[in-house]
Amino acid sequence: MQVLEEKHKLATRWFHWLNFPLLTMMIVSGMLIYWSYDPYRIGFGGVTLFHFFPDWVYNSTHIDHKLAWGMALHFLFAWIFAVNGLAYVTYTLVSGEWRELWPEKKSFAEALQVMKHDLNSRVPLPAQGRYNAAQRITYSAIVLMGGLSLLTGLAIYKPVQLNWLTALAGGYEWARWEHFWLTMGYLGFFGIHIAQVIRAGWSNFRSMVCGYEVTNVQ
């Protein structure tokens, strides 16, 4: 028999779909700011394997020479991004749904099994609740990273008034470095997330929008 099964709560879906454009705005306006001083790279000593970012990125996206606008956008949308993120965390804690999200002791071993399954579907997927072990770890990490982005952002924004926070981040320059690499982390997450969503198929994607999926029960 087919039944309608609730996969994602209304609140979770709203927080998710608000966060997506908000985080995009934060990244784009952050890029407008980063352009004016772009020292980060992957490399060692004098060898640079990849510079963030090569000229073709700036030239093709036209993000150059927009520092003032970028700062204004960043410091406006940061409020909305923070409110949505904090509301999500509060909701998850109060509703108890964090129990379905936060990694359990066994999650770290199981996540390996999930990865093996993803690479070779003959490996069975471990039994799971709403989220599998890899999802628990990744989605929890993303929420933590959001908190760290807020804190390192504040450490860069007000390094004198919040000098204790800047010190906690390891200083002004480290705070900017951390803020940047957290952002690169989101881009990496986004790539994997989209690939997994495509792999999981339409019904799964639709359940993130409307909340439900049709499942077969005995």
């Binding site: 087919q2 001083y37 410091f75 007000k158 004198v160 008034q161 439900y212």
Partner: protein, 253 residues
């Protein structure tokens, strides 16, 4: 017994109905979001920034000034070994060579309509000398640990423009008035705000703003005006070179 004339939806039909509605909400939300973003960036501009973004900066300034700013919050200071090589990053207002003999600092006290004092470097040097090694932060994102020495702007104000602390703002200009900054009074009176005449143990060089420049660690570098020619205490926000070019007037750290 009454019977419902409608045939109950199958789970698949119910899902179709729900998802149609949800995708319409998602689409409407996307349109609303784009409209909101367009709205924020449209409308009149104020000093080369969309006025609505300008108000957001003003809102942030209000939050910071009421909830966060305190003169006891100090910029971190460093040992001499941390001093780096600061780059020269602004020559506005310094096109002409400086004639040290003809340089004078005009001070207009709060409420005065004409300059109330004309000072030379000896007047400034008579004030207590303070040294600080701070991380000088450019709005572009880079920063360099630098040593400065000079007189506190608060001491200067008490000595040469007594009573002017009551003003809401301070404005400073280069002698040719090509570069100018506006400061809020609390930041101007911060104990680390100096009128500096020495940098890294040497007399201030021309390219770094000789003979007298502002060092204000609670602000980005754009506010740290070089080669000050005049100081005015006022209640109206003084013009600010980069504030007129799209940047936050407050620019506080």
């Amino acid at each position: 017994m009454s019977s419902n004339s409608k045939i109950p939806l199958t789970p698949e039909q119910e899902l179709q109905r729900r998802s149609r509605r949800s995708f319409m909400v998602l689409g409407a939300g996307a349109v609303a979001g784009m409209a909101g973003l367009t709205w924020v960036n449209s409308g009149p501009t104020e000093d080369n920034l969309p006025a609505r973004l300008r108000s957001a900066l003003g809102f942030n300034e209000g939050v910071v000034r009421t909830a966060l700013f305190d003169n006891s919050h100090l910029a971190k200071t460093y040992p001499a070994s941390a001093i780096g090589e600061i780059k020269v990053n602004g020559e506005f207002g310094m096109d002409e060579d400086l004639d040290p003999a003809s340089w004078a600092l005009e001070v207009t006290s709060f409420g005065a309509t004409r300059p109330s004092a004309k000072l030379n470097m000896d007047d400034v040097r008579k004030l207590p000398r303070y040294e600080e090694i701070i991380n000088f932060k450019c709005v572009e994102g880079w920063s360099t640990v630098t040593q400065f020495a000079g007189a506190r702007l608060s001491d200067f104000t008490a000595r040469f423009a007594p009573g002017s602390e009551k003003a809401e703002c301070v404005g400073m200009k280069t002698p040719d008035e090509a570069y100018y900054v506006g400061l809020d009074m609390p930041s101007a009176m911060h104990p680390q705000t100096l009128l500096a005449y020495e940098m890294n143990g040497q007399p201030l060089e021309d390219e770094h703003g000789a003979p007298l420049r502002l060092v204000i660690p609670v602000k980005y570098g754009i506010k740290n005006i070089k080669r000050i020619g005049s100081i005015e205490y006022t209640n109206t926000r003084p013009a600010d070179y980069w504030g007129e070019r799209g940047y936050d007037w407050y620019a506080g750290l």
